[in-house]
Symmetry: C2
Subunit: 683 residues, 2 copies
């Protein structure tokens, strides 16, 4: 049903334009003019005209007398609701409202927008916008917009989906400047009915689209987008550019920049779903160009072979690839020996392979690298010197049967470059005009393969979630929270909750010393700050002193104490979970300690997650090297940490009434991981 309506939106056989105009330059004129080349039947709607641009004009939508696929609105905002209802009544599949004056413009516009939302819900008509620039589908010469800029785009394999029409045009132009084109350029506008998820679902099976490039600002329903990306990236690569690394919310009118930074969460969620995250507009288009030409099979860590005609370019590329986490593995001894026979001594040949200048041996070098078992894709850079190496002949005559996909970086005179690059693209080789652009495009190709490999694990849960008990009634104090954690499969220290001093003395006798003595009160969120935590208690005298100090705290709930065996040394982490308003249940892992906190050394994932996700989280923290045995200390048990992360995710899944959960610290040790403190908050 959704599919069908989106087909009528993006592949209409008939288009009505309400507010069509016979006056050149007006929006209602441009809409008719730009829609014409598509070959769709055009129905201008204007009660004062008989024909517009040669098409019979109709006084109303109803007068058309047929269920048009798509209705374009070139009328002021207040007129839209009635006309949208009329469009639905004649059986139109979809509408595009391009003008402004809706939710983005204040209370009055919001009222109109709410009416549009209600009409869509009621009638089932699908609406793109309002406040969108419309779209262009260059392969079908179809423009649904007032803006002539949409008519200038070049057809090609990239679908550009943007929240703003302006950015869909800007990104498409960046592609066009490199002789690449788009299958669709669409701005979603206020996205009150059709959102990014709908368009991604449509594009997943669109035959004109080989890669989906997203520019997303804020998201209303992050889970929907995430699920759509997960479905789409099985069929074709999905790339995403987003904003919010910095505090720009006054301008973007959205987001806050706290520890669970929105940029961090958005990019973690989109990447977890399978999208390749890029840094900027140029990288988005470069990655899209590469991935429209070549895609690797799912692979946890593809190996890249690097073959260069200029060592300087090779150094820049190798440095760039390593910064981006791309593996450039040493070639096999056999491969290196074969390369050594082709080159003079002193060349670096174990990968990167430095060909010096491109000699007649170059094709042979490429074939050797291509045949390497540890190499999944080949990255080349050669200065364009046709007398030394003809890149087209390299792939057609010299090496016509390469097994691995190739990205070809080169540099030369602009005219030559246009010619060489377009020919290479036709051969399925992705061309780039600088060393680092080629390297970053390769990173996108590699990242796509890694993402998809991770997704193959997605439903292979690494362990069976335990059946979790119902939450006890009332506020959740540390003892209750730790009981729940223990039942969820997390390890906690041995502890005893005590209602009075005699219980505390008995507990001290039973527990291994030293113990921590803490105030037990769900209403006290920051125990240490109020003097409610006393460590290294070994005997009754120390216990009494600790209890005296705790009793001096103004009680908020009934007075109680928690005595707990102290853990051995280890690395402290923070493990938490929240229900994000956009993305839902989200797990946060961070390195403990003041420096890590200052540096916001945290990593995020949406729950549920897999063991692979959890292992990635551990590796993603900037200070994760501390887990591997830093300066002689033993390595901690990563498996226990993975289990703890999964358990927290499952807990949030099983208990929708938990709003927030914080384990700070989670002590990681060689023999396991212990939740030393726990805070659980109900919704």
């Amino acid at each position: 049903m959704t599919k069908n309506a989106l087909d009528r939106l993006f592949r209409p056989q008939s288009i009505a334009v309400v507010g069509a105009s016979a006056t050149p330059g007006k929006a209602g004129y441009m809409a008719v003019q730009l829609a014409q080349p598509s070959g769709a039947r055009i129905y201008p709607v204007n009660p004062n005209e008989t024909t517009i641009l040669g098409h019979t004009a109709y006084p109303t939508l109803t007068a058309i007398g047929t269920a048009v696929d798509l209705v374009l609105f070139a009328v002021p905002a207040p007129a839209c609701p009635a006309l949208l209802r009329e469009a639905a009544a004649i059986g139109a599949g979809a509408a595009i409202i391009m003008g402004g004056g809706f939710g983005e413009s204040g209370a009055e516009g919001q009222t109109i927008q709410d009416e549009l939302i209600a009409i869509c819900a009621e009638t089932g008509i699908r609406l793109l916008g309002p406040n969108t620039g419309g779209y262009a589908a260059p392969p079908r010469q179809l423009v649904a917009s007032f803006s002539i800029s949409f008519s200038k785009l070049k057809p090609g394999p990239i679908a550009v989906v943007s929240q703003s029409g302006g950015m869909s045009l800007i990104l498409s132009c960046i592609a066009e400047n490199d002789d690449f084109g788009v299958s669709l350029a669409v701005g979603l506008g206020n996205a009150i009915n059709i959102d990014a998820a709908d368009v991604i679902d449509y594009l997943a099976t669109d035959p004109d689209t080989r890669v989906i490039a997203l520019y997303l600002e804020g998201l209303r329903d992050g889970r929907r987008v995430v699920e759509a990306i997960r479905r789409a990236c099985v069929h074709k690569p999905v790339l995403a550019l987003t904003i919010g690394r910095n505090e720009i919310c006054a301008f973007a009118k959205s987001h806050t920049g706290n520890l669970v930074g929105s940029y961090g969460l958005k990019t973690a969620a989109l990447r977890q779903a399978g999208a390749v995250i890029v840094d900027n507009s140029n990288d988005l288009i470069d990655a899209a160009m590469a991935l429209s030409l070549l895609r690797l099979p799912p692979n946890p860590n593809p190996g890249v072979g690097l073959l260069v005609g200029q060592a300087g370019a090779g150094l820049l590329m190798l440095d760039q690839l390593k910064s981006l986490g791309v593996s450039v593995p040493r070639l096999s001894d056999d491969g290196i020996a074969r390369i050594a026979r082709e080159l003079p001594p002193m060349h670096y040949i174990s990968n990167p392979v430095d060909a010096g200048r491109p000699t007649p041996a170059f094709p042979k070098l490429l074939e050797i690298i291509d045949a390497e078992p540890g190499i999944d894709a080949v990255l080349i850079f050669v200065l364009d010197e046709p007398t030394a190496l003809d890149p087209i002949a390299l792939f057609t005559e010299s090496c016509p049967n390469l097994r691995k996909p190739v990205i070809y970086g080169t540099a030369g005179e602009a005219g030559d470059m246009r010619n060489v690059c377009s020919q290479l693209a036709r051969l399925g080789v992705a061309p780039f005009r600088s060393p680092e652009r080629a390297a970053r495009a390769m990173r996108a190709v590699v990242e796509d393969a890694k993402n998809r490999h991770r997704l193959t694990e997605h439903h292979a849960r690494s362990r069976k979630p335990p059946a979790l008990p119902a939450l006890p009634p009332g506020a959740l104090d540390e003892a209750t929270a730790k009981d729940l954690l223990r039942q969820a499969g997390l390890s906690v220290p041995n502890f005893i909750a005590c209602r009075d001093r005699s219980q505390a003395r008995a507990a001290l006798a039973r527990l291994a010393k030293p113990v921590a003595v803490k105030v037990l009160d769900a209403a006290i969120l920051h125990k240490t700050e109020v003097g409610g935590v006393h460590l290294n208690v070994r005997d009754e005298a120390q216990l009494e002193a600790a209890l005296d100090r705790i009793d001096a705290i103004a009680p908020r709930g009934p007075r109680a104490y928690l005595l707990e065996e102290m853990a051995t040394a280890g690395v402290d982490l923070i493990l938490g979970a929240v229900r994000d308003p956009v993305f839902g249940p989200t797990v946060l892992l961070g390195m403990g300690g003041v420096t890590a906190e200052a540096l916001k050394d945290v990593t995020l994932r949406l729950a549920p997650l897999t063991g692979a996700d959890a292992r990635e989280m551990l590796g993603e923290m900037k200070a994760s090297v501390l887990l591997d045995g830093w300066r002689g200390s033993p390595a901690v048990a990563r498996d226990a940490l993975v289990d703890a992360i999964l358990a927290v995710a499952e807990l949030l899944d099983a208990h929708p009434e938990i709003a927030e959960l914080d384990i700070n610290p989670l002590r990681a040790m060689p023999q396991g991981a212990l939740a030393l403190d726990a805070l659980m908050v109900r919704c």
Copy 2:
């Protein structure tokens, strides 16, 4: 003298080609052919020919009978020394040896190379190379190379200086692809005589060059290059791209990747000298294009006004600018009020200014921003829609008298872009074809202004260095090191060095408790690891216990103890200095603690440095927010830290016999900074 020889190298009136050939395609033929268009007098040297390409051939250099400016060598490596000597004998100013077979190719080549070094030293002839691609100076149609690629470069304002000829061509091609050209593209090769510093000095006053773009791999004498950059950037912008963020030394055959990472030191040193550091080839050329058209006066923090026709582009640019530390200040209330009168409500107008689409008000908006006192440069982005806004008319007709330099980002069809961008460049407006490229170019312009402002402070030393005593003889133990630090103006805790237990007991009585009791032995570098450090000693019993433990350590020097008053809480830093083999005396500042160490949270500067440099170092550490009062703790005394950094730099300056100095930790507190431990190593 140097100047003169470099002029003869790069602006020769006469060129001899030894090994000239009459056979088309051979190196000695190409050299003659490519040199011809320059109009220099050409002297082919070949005993077997009478003319080559119409020029009279000479049997030997000597036979030319005149002091040619430049000699190009197209002969095998073993023939070079004798011919270089002959070139010097006839009074040639400079020579270029382009072929390989020298130091880069093994022991035999190294012998020849050493001979060339000796001949240059002896005769004064200047040599470019060997193992260089030569150079092109397109404004003078001059190519001194065998490679036809050098003859295709477009003339323009950028001088590209690269260690490899290949990268000088690649970078020049990237510029050409954006219709920009180069004044010089030169590869330095093995740089045994003419190095980057020589060429930078030459280019500083070269009238064809408006900006110097460097690609540097490793440096032999970093100080020379740093000094040349410092001289040059007064005259014109200097940009630098370098490598080594990652472990790539097996390929680059250089550098180690330890805490004082070479990339970190190289970029810190080049930036301190005044160069704008860029991330990759494209950014190098983009920054060069922008800085060839506009340069700000020295400014500690230039304000950028951002005016956009598309909000999405504005968000991407603002996010990018903030990530790069560029200030986008709020406009004045008056300016905002004036802008509000030009735009419908709901636009964001306080900076960035979102013009919606470019309306007729656009020129007025630009004028208002341009007139703002807090704005030093203007960054625009507008999708190219000539019917909405003609960018050429904007700068010629609507706003011909702007006071602030402008970078203009735009996007449109490739052909239109070439036309628009070349016209804008002619008007002194720097054009870029994506939002983020424009933003990053603006960052380079801002960085150049900041660098130069910092350099104006360079010789204004913030405090008078004290007269420092001579180092005492022998190894330097902690007490000696701390005495020196104290005399250099650093604060150290009260301490007493003790030769026996009775002195230790007396010291305990005199010092404020608690004290630290340490082994005092210059031969023990890691005191804590051997049980040589005992903290919180308050009474004689604890002292005896500590001394017992210390006495159990196998003595290396004479047994001695250090008793020292313990410091109050604070933030621990690491302050050190080394004599780097490439850059000389270098100061390192890092955040203390295991996490910071794992994250390599350090910053580097060459000594001597100014208060401004030291303050920058404090701000550059990723965790520097901890200094400002984190989570309720008081802010530490930054001025005391600045003094400590300067004192360490001065100490290294005054004592060339100190190889290395480590203060770990330097305890930063609200009331000052204390060197709690000190290690000093002689050269």
